[in-house]
């Protein structure tokens, strides 16, 4: 009889030293109890009564809600956008806040139009840099958690894009309204195009550069190219003033619609390539 297997409620060592107190109590009760000798049907009834209790004990204490379907409602998408905002650090919000305050202050003063215009012109860069900043959060493992989630990287990118373009729009809005009120609908439309096209183009190119070469090239190249264009324009302003020249180019340049279409196409194409590369799962994030 010595070779009989130990009863399962005993610990392997034969004592209860490695058990929790409650386990010891149960083991003691089981050890002292005698096996039941019930007719099969009663035993079956007893077992079926006990089964749900055992199942309940074995279930994790906080049972999972129903498995997600993977479909996303609009409310859930906006909750995701809001949650992306939590991921951005305070320093970023301070910069955006300062830009917004500057915008409004310059607008209220109705002077310093060159500064105002400069702010308008650097908005596409802010969009591109924000893009890199928001994607950087997904480095070092966070991106893997996001990719392995029900929502998936594409929707997370979409939420981040929505957040960044929302902020961009908030920053651009005062100037657009200002010119819209002063000069009418056509000027407003051209100003909107002059803001939107480079913003989409720079964001898309930045995303692509980031997906291929990482942070520094993706920030450095757009800053260099766009910054050079602004400085080149400023150097050619001459006596009419920088703000007036920019405004004149936006309002009267016949190539603006064509350039805008090119910019939008390039931005969307590069953005799609970058997004595909980042979310394909064939490339390492870290």
């Amino acid at each position: 009889m010595d070779n009989e297997p130990k009863q399962s409620y005993q610990s392997e060592s034969g004592n209860f030293s490695d058990m929790e107190d409650w386990e010891k109590d149960i083991a003691k009760v089981l050890k002292e109890s005698k096996p039941l000798s019930l007719p099969p049907e009663k035993m079956q009834a007893l077992l079926s009564m006990l089964k749900p209790m055992v199942a309940e004990r074995q279930s994790p204490p906080n049972i999972n809600p129903p498995i997600a379907t993977g479909r996303m409602r609009l409310g859930e998408f906006f909750r995701l956008v809001r949650n992306q905002a939590y991921l951005l650090e305070l320093a970023y919000w301070i910069v955006i806040g300062l830009m917004m305050v500057s915008n409004l202050a310059l607008l209220a003063s109705n002077r310093l139009q060159s500064l105002f215009t400069m702010l308008f012109l650097i908005l596409p860069l802010v969009g591109g840099i924000s893009m890199v900043y928001s994607l950087r959060i997904s480095h070092d493992g966070m991106g893997e958690i996001e990719q392995a989630s029900t929502v998936g990287l594409k929707r997370i990118f979409a939420a981040r894009l929505t957040l960044i373009f929302g902020l961009e729009l908030l920053l651009a809005l005062p100037l657009l309204i200002y010119y819209g009120v002063q000069s009418g609908g056509l000027v407003l439309a051209r100003m909107a195009v002059a803001w939107l096209a480079p913003t989409v183009a720079l964001s898309g190119i930045t995303l692509f550069l980031f997906s291929r070469w990482g942070e520094w090239p993706s920030v450095g190249i757009p800053v260099l190219v766009w910054g050079s264009l602004i400085l080149f324009g400023a150097s050619r302003a001459g006596f009419i003033g920088f703000a007036e020249m920019v405004l004149a180019r936006i309002v009267f340049n016949p190539l603006l619609p064509l350039l805008a279409v090119l910019g939008l196409t390039a931005g969307l194409a590069f953005g799609a390539l970058g997004m595909r590369r980042l979310s394909s799962g064939r490339y390492s994030w870290s």
């Binding site: 999972n64 809600p65 305070l90 392995a148 989630s149 029900t150 929502v151 390492s284 870290s286």
Partner: protein
């Protein structure tokens, strides 16, 4: 289910034709550094696509299988830098929003409580210790008690007590769920895993339970007590799993099929002995 998975990076094969059928319980992927554990884990987590082979889940294939896995997976990557300004509560809230399964905040808080982090729920992660941050990272993998939890080197940076907390969490989850861990510590794996998957150089060397692997090593593990002056030569000749200093010499635990050493006695192997034996000459000291 992993079917014929292969993966190379820059032409260097990292995984070679891995086929595994993973079901309930705790599965440990064991292997030396560079064996392909993390690559396998990333493929399981659907964050890395294999060059060959496919993942299947409940008879689903292709994108449907990937979506099904993502719907019920909690994943802890090996290297995870969490945004330092976030609080544990904020991080879990964010991860919950990624799961789309309506995980409530009190569920997340209970999880933090179970990990002993309840009082730190609203502190920025920057103010927590490395071990506490790692526990928060573990917590996000368990959020919502998913059917599949993938923990890649979860114990890195955890002290003994913190590891115990995670073991308890794993035990609480495993009835009905699958937890896959990676490790290069057989002693750790022995404590929690029911199934072992041993990789070396991207190849599957063993799948089965701990007892089976230990059983393979039976009769091939020896204890030999040697005087100090013979230890060096013994170390050069044999593969050792343990060296213990005693008053009258040194006791060596030697693993290997053939042993020509006077006084060596066969002993019951541990998982570590069996693992070393399986790893073969690559780990010969």
């Amino acid at each position: 289910m992993l079917r014929g998975i292969s993966k190379s990076f820059d032409g260097v094969p990292v995984l070679k034709h891995i086929t595994l059928d993973l079901r309930e319980g705790v599965v440990a992927i064991l292997g030396p550094n560079g064996a392909g554990k993390t690559t396998l884990m990333r493929i399981l987590a659907t964050v890395l696509a294999p060059d060959e082979g496919a993942l299947e889940c409940n008879d689903l294939h292709g994108e449907a299988a990937l979506a099904a896995i993502r719907n019920q997976t909690g994943y802890l990557p090996q290297s995870l830098e969490l945004p330092q300004h976030l609080t544990p509560r904020g991080l879990l809230r964010y991860v919950a929003s990624l799961r789309l399964s309506g995980i409530r905040e009190d569920t997340a808080m209970r999880l933090l409580d179970e990990l002993g982090l309840g009082t730190m729920a609203d502190r920025p992660l920057a103010q927590l210790s490395d071990g506490q941050r790692r526990l928060v990272a573990v917590a996000q993998a368990f959020l919502g008690w998913p059917k599949l939890v993938l923990l890649d080197e979860f114990s890195a940076g955890l002290d003994v007590a913190e590891k115990e907390v995670v073991y308890r969490l794993i035990h609480a989850l495993t009835p009905g769920s699958l937890v896959v861990i990676t490790s290069n510590q057989p002693a750790e794996v022995e404590k929690i895993a029911q199934t072992l998957v041993v990789l070396r150089d991207g190849e599957l060397r063993f799948t089965g339970n701990t007892a089976e692997l230990v059983g393979q090593a039976r009769g091939m593990v020896w204890d030999a007590r040697l005087p100090e002056h013979q230890v060096r030569s013994a170390m050069e000749c044999y593969r050792l799993s343990r060296v213990r200093q005693a008053d009258d010499g040194v006791t060596l635990r030697i693993v290997g099929a053939e042993l020509d050493l006077a006084g060596a006695l066969p002993v019951e192997p541990t998982l570590e002995d069996a693992y070393l034996l399986l790893m073969g000459n690559a780990l010969k000291r």
